[in-house]
Symmetry: C2
């Protein structure tokens, strides 16, 4: 068995418009890398973080906390050293904390001979999410671990379903360089919704899942609506309405807030359209004068990948 | 082209626990029959209703109202005579009004050479539903017309998706002989719900749709939960909790209120289990002393069927 492993930890888009707190999808071309080593020393030691200023202390780092959750459920008596090469910016809304939490637990699981199921790995990684946002949400960690589109059918008991990924689906993500904390963007949400909006939302979730299985891009497009969260959260994101309408005009199937923002995602059929959408998004932020990162990616159907 | 047609008009289960106002399924072994004839006389004439005491006046009968909606959208200059042989009891919660509305418009459409799409037929039939309940709901008329499981993804614009039906799925329906008006059972619902319950509901809708496509009976079972409507409406149905727990103990995948009640439905894998569930349901109402009708049925994947 290997003593050291290097993994790719994908960025993820949570919510996907209609699926607040339940849907997510993993990306191929955006993500961190981590190197995890087995050591005789007990516990988790984070030896290096490159690319971002994040705490090295195990209890303050999401990878450390998620790793400790795995360790405490394991009969392994040694420990792990972790190096983190961050490329996903914290607070970007594309699962930066989830990438680190899931990368840590998946790498450790592989080094231990895979004693834990994907569902258990999600539960460990959710401890990292709790540290990052105050809430044990699973909509980023589930797609990072399972790959593709995932549905968190239920949180109690935790029940995660991997959904089919249509072949031609591409994601475009633009990250305007402003920070919104997940905890802040949760606070502005209302705790009640109208039954009428709820009906629209579960109609769209049903439509999106049906569209993903039948690879019906028109149905996917019609289902990418959010009547509940987007109207509230989008006010925190500069020029959201312009970016969205420019994306749809450029041919995107749908466009909305990635996770709790500020990143905005769009799904498109085919790479060419996804790139046109990227150009349309950039044009808006160039005009407004807000710096951004932009990504075009296929869907990562595999989840955390072993690099070496 | 035929001048007369006899059709089978299936009973339907709306909501299917998690899918309030959006999901429905058509049945094979429970339904009305209608005979519809082309006449040179304009308008709709209901010449006969057997099996139930319902108004013959066109404007007061759901089949009449739905038929008039079709007629007014058509360039056909004659009319139709309708005979209705009711077997589904009004107010039973298994789509009695929908069976009559959809039977009328589907039969007329066939006699006219099918000028209208299924979606248009649903819109005509919804006028009948409005007469019956005050609301143009589509969750019974959609499965009666499309067959199988249907999702009303959106009401505005109307968007209906036919969902895959797993081969071994059976429905059991028990109708306790008490009347609940659809309009009354709507009144007791709250107009707001908690966001937390909404998340559970759209997680379950997503899970149910995924389970129907992948024919994953366990997932279907886990998804047949209703955290929003059932806790409120079930108080109108005598011994609901006992019937539900007896059904689940007998092996049902799930059990809930059919439409707005008072009928209770269960889904099972295989006929044998569906019949055990029927026996378990009957035992409860036999003990309580409430008369009932009981049905065990395969899913009708065809919708309205031409008998002759």
């Amino acid at each position: 068995m290997k003593n050291e492993i290097k993994v790719f930890c994908p960025a993820t888009i949570a919510n996907i418009s209609c699926g607040f707190d339940v849907l997510g999808v993993a990306l191929d071309n955006v993500g961190d890398e981590m190197v995890v080593k087995k050591t005789s020393k007990k516990g988790i030691t984070i030896t290096k973080i490159e690319g971002q200023n994040l705490p090295l202390q195990t209890h303050k780092n999401v990878a450390g906390v998620a790793g400790l959750a795995l360790l405490s459920a394991s009969d392994y008596e040694g420990g792990f050293e972790i190096e983190i090469y961050k490329k996903i910016k914290a607070g970007s809304g594309i699962g930066s904390s989830a990438a680190s939490s899931t990368g840590a637990v998946c790498a450790m699981n592989k080094l231990l001979g895979e004693p834990f199921s994907n569902l258990e790995l999600v539960q460990f990684a959710m401890k990292g999410e709790e540290l990052a946002s105050g809430v044990q949400h699973a909509d980023n960690v589930a797609p990072a671990i399972y790959g593709g589109f995932t549905l968190v059918r239920s949180y109690s008991p935790l029940d995660i379903i991997k959904i089919n990924t249509p072949k031609k689906l591409y994601a475009t993500v633009i990250h305007p360089q402003i920070e919104i904390k997940t905890s802040d963007s949760r606070k502005i949400l209302k705790t009640t919704i109208s039954l009428a909006d709820g009906i629209k939302q579960w109609g769209n979730v049903g439509g999106l899942i049906a569209g993903l299985y039948t690879e019906d891009y028109d149905l996917i497009s019609r289902s990418l609506e959010d009547h509940i969260i987007e109207p509230i959260r989008s006010i925190l994101i500069p020029a959201f309405d312009n970016v969205k309408s420019a994306s749809l005009n450029a041919g995107a199937l749908g466009c909305g807030i990635s996770g709790s923002g500020p990143s905005i995602y769009a799904l498109s059929k085919g790479k060419e359209t996804a790139e046109k959408v990227a150009q349309a998004m950039q044009n808006i932020y160039n005009k407004v004068g807000i710096p951004y990162d932009i990504h075009v990616s296929t869907v990562n159907t595999e989840g955390i990948k072993t690099i070496s």
